[in-house]
């Protein structure tokens, strides 16, 4: 039987191995949880980005570098809303080369790459299964683009890289944003969160301390309030000691506007509480007993357990 000439298949195989090697040079194992293995990505020479949900503890965090050596790392910032956390280390890292995300297409071959506790790289392969525009996580975080890879995100690969077939970084893979599937937080979102942490700003979304339900705003009320808005949200619960309670919001109030944001559903409220609102006093327009009213609410950080 004649042997095959190394053809296109062998070339692709060599390219994929080289791609794994290239991105793996920027990946570490993150030792911050007794039960869960996870990886982290070198974003710059001393900063690692990883998943927030896999940080079981705030101290005594260690990383395993590409050369197999262990090093200490400290938390520089956490953003549960996007499931991102930043670690700082004194060790010098090789920052991951970032891919041009604009060129990404459904069907592209992609690799999920991480590092195990022994310092060895681990990978899986698949294709880009779905792409879409910006979306909001269940914890109210803004993700710049919906990226769903079709691949097996084995234990330990979470927190690691989604890389293109050339080994350039497309984003961070996580199990933390959906119960049903592994998703990728794209570079643009990581960049934004890193910038916020570096600027010393809060990366936690604002918090009002209320539970809501959408309601229809009757025509008569729309006319009385002089607004063209068909829906609003009604307050069904007020957290004790929360910003809304302190400002005087009561159960039954129908909220129409917060700051510049019209409120027609719960998503609008999250939008109004987006990044940078913590500490700000926003004007809340609402209806109580058929009358339009206004209050100033000082937005706070969401408590850890809320």
């Amino acid at each position: 039987m004649s042997t095959n000439e190394p053809g296109a298949l062998a070339a692709l195989s060599a390219d994929l191995a080289a791609a794994v090697e290239r991105i793996a040079a920027s990946l570490v194992y993150v030792d911050a949880d007794r039960r869960r293995d996870s990886s982290g990505i070198a974003w710059d020479e001393h900063t690692i980005v990883t998943t927030d949900h896999a940080l079981e503890r705030d101290e005594d965090i260690e990383i395993v570098l590409p050369d197999g050596k262990r090093a200490r790392a400290a938390i520089a910032g956490r953003d549960p809303s996007t499931d991102l956390a930043l670690l700082h280390t004194e060790a010098t890292l090789v920052p991951a080369a970032r891919a041009d995300a604009g060129a990404l297409r459904v069907g592209n071959i992609v690799l999920a790459v991480g590092r195990d506790e022994d310092g060895q790289p681990a990978a899986s392969m698949g294709v880009v299964s779905a792409l879409d525009g910006p979306w909001r996580t269940w914890r109210g975080g803004d993700i710049d683009r919906f990226v769903r890879p079709d691949l097996s995100l084995y234990p330990g690969l979470s927190g690691g890289a989604l890389a293109d077939a050339g080994g350039a970084l497309l984003g961070l893979n996580t199990w933390g944003l959906s119960r049903r599937m592994a998703l990728t937080v794209p570079n643009a979102t990581i960049e934004r969160v890193v910038a916020q942490v570096n600027a010393g700003g809060s990366i936690r979304p604002g918090y009002l301390g209320i539970a809501l339900q959408p309601v229809r705003l009757p025509d008569s009320l729309q006319r009385a309030l002089d607004i063209a808005q068909e829906g609003a949200v009604i307050v069904v619960d007020v957290a004790g000691g929360g910003p809304a309670e302190k400002a005087g919001v009561m159960i039954g109030d129908v909220l129409v506007h917060l700051g510049a944001q019209p409120l027609e559903d719960a998503d609008d409220v999250q939008r109004a509480l987006g990044n940078g609102t913590v500490g700000q006093a926003l004007t809340l327009r609402f209806v109580r007993a058929g009358e339009a009213r206004e209050l100033a609410v000082t937005i706070e950080e969401r408590p850890q357990d809320a």
Partner: protein, 186 residues
């Protein structure tokens, strides 16, 4: 996706030719790899439980085979064909698995779910001394069949699935096993 690349058809054909179905007359059948010109077929110990087995080639030809050695720890068994059904035998090319790199393409061929010569593709997931660990789908009938590189060279014998990952006995362990077998026979 991969099947569109030039060379894929030859690779599949070549691997299928060296892959056999191994039945020991009891439970479901597994797979095996035609290993040498003198009629040696390699499979898993858990596929060849008896003293003999029936080997079916891809083209449907059958042969009886004697189980000449079995190592439950390595999950390997060596069979010797008792009658020559093809000449030359479609012997598989072999590559030392220790030279594999994470991310390399690998292919498995076997007879899962009653399918003959079914192929799955994936990549080397991580390196380990005990197994070739691959991000690749295996079914029970794949046991004993080849895991091969992008040039069709066998790097291991598919043995089990753990947490969704394919585990294959590396070619180096097969070489060691056969050295022990021949040393015992000498």
């Amino acid at each position: 996706m991969l099947s569109a690349l030039p060379g894929f058809a030859q690779l599949a054909e070549r691997l299928q030719a060296s892959t056999v179905r191994v039945g020991d007359g009891r439970r479901g059948a597994g797979s095996g790899v035609v290993w040498s010109m003198d009629g040696l077929v390699m499979t898993n110990a858990h596929v060849a439980r008896g003293r003999s087995a029936t080997v079916t080639f891809h083209d449907g030809r059958r042969a009886r085979a004697r189980v000449i050695a079995r190592d439950d720890e390595r999950d390997l068994a060596a069979l010797r064909l008792e009658n020559v059904v093809a000449f030359p035998l479609p012997v598989a090319g072999v590559r030392d698995a220790s030279s594999l790199r994470v991310g390399e393409l690998v292919f498995a061929v076997g007879n899962p779910l009653g399918l003959v010569g079914a192929m799955t593709a994936g990549i080397v997931q991580r390196l380990s001394d005990r197994f070739v660990i691959a991000d690749l789908r295996l079914e029970p009938g794949n046991s004993g069949g080849p895991l091969a590189d992008a040039q069709g060279r066998v790097v291991g014998i598919n043995s089990m699935v753990a947490r969704g990952l394919a585990l294959a006995v590396p070619s180096g362990a097969i070489t060691d096993f056969l050295r022990d077998v021949y040393a015992a026979a000498a």
